[in-house]
């Protein structure tokens, strides 16, 4: 896998991890908010409950008071005091609950004032009833004709409850929206991660395909290279075999030539007469064993030397020597037979011989001559 693909896949997994962390943080924050909201809702319900209990105690006290006003029974006074204690208790609890909410606290202070006024009014009625002061009772009852004090408390209580319920509704809406956001965040994160993982899979698949293609290309290149190597090896082997054969042919030709030269020399050496092979310029190119034997010269001293070094033609007595008879015969391409001549050996000795010349022809061209010397008795 190449470095670029690894880097891309690592980057994808880093983004996936970041998205997962983001989603986890969002979920944790939502849980904390839900817990906090739940506490707030419970608290608000507790305030509502205390408010309702407060107003219930006020109504219970008021009912017990009216009963007492009718019966004058001291046991009803206890019910009135009990209700008044419950009113105080619920007020204290409610105030404690809304202590951190100044606006609602203010409402409860107002409600407490109304409750104290009502309690004072109730005590005055109880005192008048205990004293059987009908005039004071009528005056007091007339001052609250229609139950205005209770209705005011009820109205304030309802306002408090309505405000609390409104806050609950707003909180409920906020909770719902928060849950929706969290849900979208989670699903969005999941979808993004799925897309990123799909991208990573695509990158891996793409890289694998590229590697397969590369491997196939390498195999093909190797096959081509192997084929070329085989072809080249075959060519070299064939060329080597050809060169080897040519070399053997050359050696064979040289061998045959040497054999032929040796064979020719054997022929020459087998002749008893002295035989000298001349070039066109009468230089000695070859001699037989008889020449070496009679002159004492080794062949190396004679080869390429002029014939005149060892052979001297004796001109006919009285005849002018205008031209060398050997030169004339070679130029004219004719034989010379039995010319008297002198052969000079290495030690300076002289031997009388009869010279015969045969022109050496290559086709119609005279290229040299063959000289035979026949020693004459002294």
């Amino acid at each position: 896998m190449n470095d670029l693909t690894i880097r891309r896949i690592l980057a994808v997994f880093l983004v996936v991890a970041a998205v997962l962390i983001g989603v986890a943080i969002a979920a944790i924050r939502n849980i904390e908010r839900s817990a906090s909201s739940s506490d707030w809702v419970n608290h608000t319900h507790a305030v509502i409950s205390e408010t309702e209990a407060f107003f219930g105690a006020v109504q219970a006290g008021d009912a017990a008071l009216r009963t007492y006003l009718v019966t004058g029974d001291p046991r009803d006074q206890a019910a009135i005091r009990d209700a008044a204690a419950q009113v105080d208790e619920h007020l204290e609890v409610a105030k404690a609950l809304v202590r951190q909410d100044p606006e609602t606290s203010q409402q409860f202070v107002l409600l407490e004032t109304l409750a104290r006024q009502r309690a004072e009014y109730n005590r005055e009625l109880m005192a008048a009833r205990s004293a059987n002061d009908s005039a004071a009772l009528r005056t007091l009852l007339a001052s609250d004709a229609g139950g205005g004090g209770i209705r005011e408390i009820q109205r304030k209580t309802e306002q408090l409850k309505a405000a609390a319920m409104a806050r609950l509704s707003v909180q409920d809406t906020a909770n719902y929206l928060q849950a929706q956001r969290t849900r979208w965040t989670v699903w969005g994160g999941v979808a993004l991660n799925v897309l990123l993982l799909a991208g990573a899979i695509w990158l891996i698949r793409d890289d694998l395909n590229a590697r397969k293609a590369l491997a196939a290309s390498l195999r093909e290149a190797n096959l081509q290279l192997e084929t070329r190597v085989q072809e080249r090896t075959a060519e070299l082997t064939a060329a080597n075999a050809r060169l080897s054969n040519e070399n053997l042919e050359r050696q064979w030709a040289n061998q045959a030539l040497e054999h032929q030269v040796r064979y020719n020399q054997l022929i020459l050496d087998s002749i008893n007469d002295l035989v000298l092979v001349l070039t066109k310029t009468q230089k000695i190119s070859r001699v037989n064993a008889a020449v070496i034997h009679l002159t004492g010269f080794p062949s190396t001293d004679l080869i390429n030397q002029p014939l005149a070094r060892i052979v001297h033609v004796i001109p006919p007595a009285g005849a002018p020597v205008l031209h060398d008879p050997l030169t004339l015969a070679l130029d004219e391409g004719r034989d010379l037979r039995d010319l008297p001549a002198i052969l000079e050996d290495k030690a300076g000795g002289r031997t009388r011989v009869r010279l015969t010349l045969f022109p050496l022809r290559d086709g119609i061209k005279v290229v040299g001559g063959i000289v035979t010397l026949q020693p004459q008795p002294a």
Binding site: L248, H259, Y263
Partner: protein, 124 residues
């Protein structure tokens, strides 16, 4: 299996060159410089073809070929010699025991061609 050729020549360089060439051409080659060596090579295994010189150290080549043909009547013999014959005369004199006459000046390729022709002719 490679066909076997027996080379008979008194000159060792000739034997070696010819043996090297024919081996490279795919033949199994044995060589001998005398009649005694020749008979020993034949005892080791009958050749498919014989190439012989005319002159041997211990005997005359033609006489040895005549004796050899008594043992190997179906084996073709090529006479390879440096002694120059008139071709017409050579044919008349040599045809009895010799399948073919070649001079040592003949190129190796011609010798090989002659060997192939004779061996092909011999095959059933």
């Amino acid at each position: 299996m490679a066909q076997k050729i027996l080379i008979i020549d008194d000159e060792q360089p000739i034997r070696e060159l010819l043996a090297q060439y024919l081996t490279a051409c795919g033949y199994a080659v044995a060589s001998a410089g005398t009649e005694i060596e020749t008979l020993a090579r034949v005892d080791e295994g009958s050749p498919d073809l014989v190439i012989s010189d005319l002159q041997l150290e211990d005997t005359d080549g033609l006489e040895m070929i005549a004796r050899l043909k008594e043992r190997l009547p179906d084996v073709p013999v090529i006479l390879l010699t440096g002694v120059l014959f008139d071709p017409e005369v050579a044919r008349d004199v040599l045809h009895k025991h010799v399948a073919c006459y070649l001079e040592k000046t003949s190129p190796l390729s011609r010798i090989l061609e002659t060997i192939r022709q004779l061996l092909e002719r011999r095959q059933p």
